[in-house]
């Protein structure tokens, strides 16, 4: 199979992921979009590895680690999203505005 096909698919996947990150406001959907970006990178790594016939298989090993990193990120991310939901009853990232540059002091007063 030609290398450029894999790279094209990977670029498309990455583009979908970036769009998802920019367009989605639900934290869980955002996480899924990030997963797409990571898997696009993985596809690239594995494709390059096969193309180089890398004796050390650096690309494959890297992809393995990226999978683990992604899982760890999802684990921590879900825990944070759950904590946000328990305390704030929302998972929409644009509704989290207690911390912002608009008059922070007045905001603190309102909370207290």
């Amino acid at each position: 199979m030609h290398l450029s096909l894999a790279l094209l698919l990977s670029a498309l996947l990455f583009g979908v992921g970036v769009y998802g990150v920019l367009a989605r406001r639900n934290a869980i959907a955002l996480l899924m979009a990030v997963e797409l970006m990571l898997n696009a990178a993985n596809l690239d790594l594995v494709a390059f590895d096969a193309w180089f016939k890398d004796a050390l298989h650096a690309g494959q090993v890297f992809a393995l680690f990226v999978v683990v990193v992604a899982a760890a990120e999802v684990g921590v991310g879900l825990a944070i999203v759950l904590a946000v939901f328990r305390l704030r009853q929302t998972v929409a990232v644009d509704e989290l505005r207690q911390l912002a540059d608009v008059d922070p002091v007045l905001r603190v007063d309102a909370d207290a």
């Binding site: 050390l56 890297f62 921590v76 991310g77 944070i80 904590a83 911390l99 540059d101 603190v108």
Partner: protein, 500 residues
Amino acid sequence: MSLTQSIDYAAISPPLVVVVTAVAVLLADLFVSAEVRRRLLAPLALAGTLGALGATAWLATGPARSTFCLAGGGCSYVADGFATYFQTIVLAALVVVLLLSYPLFDERERVPPGQVPAAEFLALMLMSVSGMLVVAAGRDLLTLLIGLEVVSLPAFVLVGLRRGDPRGVEAALKFFVFSVVSTALTIYGIALVYGTTGSIELHHIAHALSTRHAHSGAMSATAAAGVVLVLVGFGFKIAAVPFHFWAPDTYQGAPVPVAAFLSVASKAAGFAGLIVLLVVGFRPYADVWGPAVGVLAAVSMTVGNLVALRQRNVVRLLAWSTVAHAGYLLMPLAVASSQLREGVRATLAYLGIYAAMNLGAFGCAVLVRRLHPRLAIEDLRGLVTRAPLTAVAFGLFLTALAGLPPGVAGLFAKVVVFRAAVHGHVTWLAVVAAVNTVIGLAYYLRVAALMFVPADDAPVAPSSRTWSVSAGVAIAAAVTVVLSVYPQPLLHLASTAAQR
């Protein structure tokens, strides 16, 4: 080819000691009684940190050690002067942060709102530090990336660990989202760099990139794109504009000691990785990243300082000030020419001084928070009568951050980075930085002056465990004062670390 390696355990002893301590803290929390826990956990973590610090000092005196080496040359982990310099900064910062966070701990089974579970806090902080120690010594893309992730993942949790705190979890979520997106960009960049060089080891990458760079074309452009994407991830870690959006919100929502930790230790790790990448791996593309780093530096200091001017909360002010300082720290790296070694030396020296004065400033914020939970700047009025020592220390750190006497250390730091920029012919950047230093004076001095307005309040008595915060601030103050009078050892260490 033999697949088995001999591991030099002495070389990796600092992160090893820290990780083992983290596991020990977690297990101790699970299997010993509450009374023992209360007296055991924090001293255990502190002892582990000091042990790692001792190991680092021992490594620093000996020759450079490398381990996890490939048959064809190139090692994944190198404990040289550069690595031990950063490891010392990170571990020393951890000692101070542990002291600052001691009043936050609660060792009971059910942690009341506003406190953090002690064992989890300590273990996560130690794990995050182990990642920083690895980043400082990592010499291939995989080790750097895993190190960076080990720094970040516990840090997300640390930010949101305070029980029942809606602002803490908001800060954690913002931190998390920005971080994972920038990590994804970095990994994609790494994939492109790997695809154009065929290696993830930095020396091999440098070799391959120099031949790539000689022939312009699609491959060269892909490599350049990869280099820029990788830099995005590190730009996020050091909170340089435009990757800084998380920093003010995260610092404000997090427990103040955690904000101190992120602004010093995490930033130091980011710079360690960034310098290794730029100087070793991406050297052939200096004409691509040099101007980019210069622009990042100029924008970071300008935006950081201008937004800091209109802050009304102490921690947010300090947060924007750290963004501005990321700019000063980046400035010498923009040299990107034959003078790069002097640039690296300047950044290293600045980082050492910055660590002391910034930790001190955040430590003072912890002390002030006890009197004024809102931490509004207006609350500082007349602090000198309520808490004289805190006000004096805070004044010292703020003037040091501004680069004025009596905090002369900050002035030395500024002189070093200016000189590096001028020697490396990026005079325009030095001019931008000079203007910014003046803007900085405005807000640092406004806060410092406010504290010394006389008021007729009585001094406030310290509560339990505050002694530990005071000790942390005292250490930072002592280091700042020593560096103000006698900065030569630090400058010397920075030059040795920059010799590679």
